[in-house]
Subunit: 272 residues, 2 copies
């Protein structure tokens, strides 16, 4: 029987120090590497965000918005290099724990169209999984056939790869406990949504409206909406607080853990 | 008119300290970054070797020979990471000089068959060149459809990319003055071949015999033979000593420089 891979996304806010540009949270990275090692997942893909490595440069040079003039080019180059630097730190920690992980640079093989992945070549990732290697991808500054270049988020990559590889599940590690009804960092009445179906999620999206998505839930709903294609396909996703010890371990093992479970609604049959 | 790219290969022996594992030759890297900057090539692709970063690990774990048992997997992971580390040092130096360079990880998009590239997707490299960015590739540990994994040399990559992109020329920077009739490091009667045609090269290959290739010319003939497909296509290649200042600059600019020029013989018409 073919082992289905688990796709683990680690948010940039977890593995970097948000307020300090280009500062990794080495303690969190080391702890998470240990949790991943301990979980002994047979087939694992890791995808991480950019946090304080990728975001400041991407913002300064408006990389997400696409090519406007040649002054952005140096920013494109620097953003790529910053992401590669963070990736190296993550890889070093994984290898230190004895995890046979290898970097797979998204920008080397993904070209988006208006910010969206049209097609992703999975031959390399599948080949690595077959060897027992953990492919590590990340949010990256990629070429875009319409915009020249843009930012490909780790969230979009997570959903697309999980879908293409028919993943067993998606684990998303962030710096909050999951999806809240409002931003828990600013609104004390916000409460954690422990389980939400694909259909409820679509209703929530409609209710909140696209424009306010980022603010209202502290940016979480935007991340969650990226997961819809994979969830609609029948892949469960769980969002946990990766800043708290053992949550990622528990989520990988399928143990009970505080977080938000997202699944296809009862009426959507899980494909074979 | 479309600008044809120049493909510059920098040998691992130039950019690392050969005898010391994982030691970059930072002075050489910085100098070469300055030479590249000064040359102001309109369309440039840089490819570098592994030197003391890639080779010791690749050798220890027999990565080139392919997958034999699971004990090699950690070596595959470490070799990849070592190459990414060297690449980061090269990129940092280029960016420091204001060159908008970006890494393009070969193993993310190339799968070889018995050690040979069957097909290379050039969309990303072309897209970067169009933006005025310098793509930087390197010898890497890649997946191989027959062997499981193997080492893809920077030399093979250089030839293949030059061919696919119909390069203006190839500049190969090594730590000797060019191709010699014997190994100049051990044989005082060895003399530099200043110009060699494709046909003479094939005769030389036949005379020396494949088995002895590496030893007889100090490893240079093996590198040169990789260039044959590109040279046969009409692309000039010049081998220069990149350990000596200004040679790479001169070769990029098309100025007179000591080295070995390799070109298609007179009877081979240069394609349009």
């Amino acid at each position: 029987m073919k082992v289905k891979p688990i796709v683990l996304k680690l948010g940039g806010s977890v593995i970097t120090v948000k307020e300090k540009p280009f500062t990794p949270n080495k303690e969190a990275i080391r702890r998470l590497a240990k949790e991943i090692k301990k979980a002994e997942v047979k087939s694992l893909i890791l995808i991480h965000g950019g946090g304080s490595f990728g975001h400041p440069l991407a913002k300064e040079y408006k990389i997400k918005e696409g090519y406007r003039d040649s002054s952005q080019i140096v920013g494109f180059s620097k953003t790529r290099q910053a992401m590669a630097s963070l990736n190296k730190i993550v890889l070093d920690a994984l290898i230190q724990e004895g995890i046979p992980a290898v970097a797979v640079q998204p920008s080397a093989f993904v070209v988006t169209n208006n910010g969206r992945i049209q097609h992703i070549e999975t031959e390399t990732i599948l080949g690595l999984l077959k060897l027992g290697v953990v492919p590590v991808l990340y949010g990256d500054a990629v070429l875009d056939s319409a915009l020249g270049f843009t930012i490909l988020s780790g969230d979009q990559l997570t959903s697309k790869i999980a879908l293409e590889l028919d993943a067993e599940k998606i684990v998303v590690g962030v710096d909050v406990d999951g999806l809240y009804t409002a931003d828990p960092k600013v609104n004390s009445s916000a409460h954690l949504i422990q389980c939400i179906t694909f259909e409820e999620l679509k209703r929530l999206q409609h209710k909140i409206g696209k424009a306010e998505v980022t603010d209202v839930t502290g940016g979480m709903l935007g991340k969650v909406l990226e997961l819809i294609p994979a969830v609609a396909h029948g892949i469960r996703a769980i969002i946990v607080n990766a800043s708290k010890p053992n949550n990622v371990y528990k989520a990988l093992k399928g143990e009970e853990v505080t977080g938000t479970m997202i699944k296809a609604s009862e009426t959507v049959a899980k494909p074979n």
